[in-house]
C-alpha cells in the first residue's frame, strides 16, 4: 500500500518539479494547494451537490487560478532574489493558505464524497481498493500528459527553454512571464488532483492532507529537483524501502524504535545526497567563477 500512497504523493511531487524546473522556486506552499484542491472538491461535490468528476475539474480550475494569483501578486516581485527568500516566502504562503482553509472548513474529518468509497475488486488472490486503482491510473495519466506536454507543445518547449536559460529564451521571443504564470497554474491543478486522490477512499479529508506534501520532499530531492522522471523513481525507491523497513526492522534492528519506517525516507535522502548532491537524476549546478 505504501508504494501506492507514495505514487499519489508523486502527484504533488510533480507539481514541485514543474514549478522548480520552470522558475527555480521550491514551492513549499504546494501542500497548501493540495489541501485547497481537496476541500474545494468537497465544497463543489458534497455541499453544492455537483457530480464528482465535475467537482474535481472545477476544483482543479479554481486551484490553478489561485496559483496564477499567487504568482502574479507575490512571486513575480521576487524574481532574481536568493533561494532563501523564495523558500521563506512560499512557506509564509503555506501558513496563510492552511489557516484560511481551516477557517472556512474547520478541523473535522470530512467525507470527500468520492464514488469509490470502500469498494474493492479481487484480482486473483489479491484484493485491491478501487480508489487505489483510480489513484494509480490518474497518476499514470497525469505523467503521460506531462511528458507529452513538455515534449510536443510550444508552451512546454518554452518552459524547457526558460528553465535552461532565461535570457536566451527571451531573445527567442518566449515570454518568461507567461511561462512562470502557466507553471504555477499547472502546479495548482496537479495539486488539486493529488489532494483528491489522497483524501479519497478510506481516508477522510482532514487538514493533515497538506502534511503529506512535506513527505513528498524526500522523493523529489532523491530523484533530483528538476527531473520529473526522478520524482517517480525517488517515490518508488522510498515506497519500497519504507515497506521493507516496516517489515524487517523490528526483527533485525529493533533498537531503532517502533515506526522507524516513517523517518526512513529522510535517512535515505541524506545518505544519497551525501554521495550525489544533486539527487539521482538532477542537473548538476554549473557555477560561474
Amino acid at each position: 500500500m505504501t508504494e501506492f500512497l507514495q505514487l499519489v504523493v508523486n502527484g504533488t511531487a510533480l507539481g514541485f518539479v514543474i514549478i522548480f524546473k520552470a522558475t527555480g522556486v521550491i514551492n513549499f506552499a504546494q501542500g497548501g494547494f493540495v489541501m485547497l484542491g481537496a476541500y474545494l472538491t468537497y465544497q463543489f461535490g458534497t455541499t453544492w451537490g455537483l457530480p464528482f468528476a465535475v467537482a474535481v475539474l472545477l476544483a482543479m480550475v479554481a486551484t490553478a487560478l489561485s496559483g496564477l494569483v499567487v504568482e502574479r501578486l507575490i512571486l513575480r516581485r521576487m524574481v532574481g532574489r536568493p533561494p532563501f527568500a523564495l523558500i521563506m516566502i512560499t512557506i509564509g504562503m503555506l501558513f496563510i493558505i492552511q489557516e484560511i482553509v481551516t477557517l472556512i472548513w474547520g478541523f473535522d474529518a470530512l467525507n470527500l464524497g468520492d464514488p469509490w468509497g470502500l469498494e474493492t475488486v479481487q484480482v486473483g488472490e489479491i484484493i485491491i481498493r478501487v480508489s487505489d486503482l483510480w489513484t494509480v491510473g490518474l497518476a499514470l495519466v497525469a505523467l503521460g500528459v506531462f511528458f507529452a506536454f513538455f515534449r510536443f507543445t510550444s508552451l512546454g518547449l518554452a518552459m524547457r527553454a526558460t528553465a535552461l536559460d532565461q535570457e536566451a529564451a527571451l531573445a527567442q521571443g518566449m515570454s518568461a512571464k507567461r511561462v512562470f504564470a502557466s507553471s504555477w497554474a499547472i502546479a495548482g491543478a496537479v495539486a488539486a488532483l493529488a489532494g483528491v486522490t489522497i483524501a479519497a477512499g478510506p481516508a477522510n479529508l482532514t487538514p493533515g492532507v497538506q502534511f503529506l506534501a512535506l513527505l513528498a520532499f524526500p522523493a523529489i530531492i532523491l530523484g533530483g529537483l528538476d527531473s520529473p522522471g526522478g520524482a517517480i523513481v525517488g517515490g518508488v525507491i522510498i515506497g519500497i524501502t519504507q515497506t521493507l523497513t516496516a517489515g524487517y526492522q523490528g526483527d533485525y534492528a529493533a533498537f531503532l524504535g517502533p515506526n522507524f519506517q516513517t523517518v526512513m525516507p529522510f535517512v535515505i535522502m541524506v545518505l544519497i545526497l551525501l554521495v550525489r548532491p544533486y539527487g539521482l537524476f538532477g542537473t548538476k549546478e554549473v557555477k560561474r567563477i
Binding site: P83, G92, T102
Partner: protein, 369 residues
Amino acid sequence: MARHNPEMVIDYGDDLKLFRSRLTQVAMIVVLLVFLLLPLQVDDFWLGVLNYVAIFAIGGIGLNLLTGFTGQVSLGHAFFVAVGAFSTAYLGGELDWPMWLWLPAAAILGAVIGAIVGPIALRLSGNYLAIVTLGLLFLGEHIFSNWKSVTGGGRGTRVDAPLAIGPIDFADLELFGSSYSRQQGLFWLLWIVVAITALIAKNIVRSRPGRAMQAIRDRDIAAEVVGVSLLRYKLGAFAVSSAMAAVAGAFYGAAVQQFVSPAEFGGQLGLILSIQFIAVIIIGGLGTVYGAILGAIVVGALPRIIQEFSGSLPFLSSGPGDDGILEVSSFNNMLFGLLIIVFLLAEPLGLAALWMRLKAYFKFWPFSY
C-alpha cells in the same frame, strides 16, 4: 589633528570598534539602566513576555550567524533547540547538575551535533540544504520520542533544572535583603545571557571569522579562491549557531516552560518553531546582530499579547465556545506568514534597515542625502 567623524571608518581599528560613537556609548548606558530597572516597574505578565522574547533573541542571534552571515539556509533550528531542552531536562533535572555545569553542557552538546550536521552543508547548498535540515526535524522527533529514559518519550518530561549560580538563585531571587519574584529574577538572568550571546556574535562577525563567513555568503567559490576554508567556517557557523540554539532550548525548558515534549520540536510543530526563528531574523534584519533582538521582540511578544487581549478583538476566539471565528493560534500562524511575506517583499533587510534609514535621515537633515 582634528577628531574625525566617528561614523567614518578610516582604518582597521575603527572597523573593529564595538561602540563607534559617543552616542552609541550613551545608548548602551541607557539600555543597561532599562535592563536593571525595568523588572521593578513592570508586572509579571509583561516580564513573562519579555523572558519569552529573550529565548527567541538567543536562538535568533544564533540562526542569524548561520543564515544571515554565512548564508546557509536551515529549517532545522528547532531540532537544536530540542537538543538543549532535553539535555537540560536530563542533566539539570534528573542528574541535578548545577547551572554552571548544565548550561555549558547543553551548549557543547549543541555545538557537537551542529558540527556533525555541518559537513552536509559542504556538499549541499540552497534548496537541497533546506530540505535536508527539514528532515532533521522528523529524525529528531523520532529519536526524542523513542529515547524514553532521557526525554520521557511521547508524554514529555518535566524540566526542573536549578537556575542558580553559587548562592544566587534566579528563580527565587533575594538580594540585599529584598526578595524578587520568579519572573523578575529570570528577566535579569535571561537578558544577561542575551547580552553575552550578542557580544559573542558581534565579536565573531567584526573579526576575521565574520569576514570569512560573509565572503562565503556572498560567493562561496570566490571565498575559497582567496583562501577561506569552507570546511572550517561552514562547520564553525553550524556549531556556534547550534550551540546558541541549544542554550535557547535549555532556558526554554528550564526557565520558561518547565515541561518539554518531543512533539513541540519535531514534525509540524517543529517546522512552525523553526519558521518562527526564521521570522525573527527576517523581520529583524538578516546579517545584523541587534536585528535578531528586534525581530525576537516582534515574534516572541506578539502571540502572547494577542492571546492576552483576544477577548477584546471580536474576530478571535480565545477558547472553545467563544464566538470569534478564528482560533488565536491560527491567527498567529497567519500573522507570521503575512509578516514574512510583507517583509521579504517590502523590506528584505528588516527592521534593522528601517532603523538605519531613519538614522541616516536625521543625520543628514535637512538634506536628503
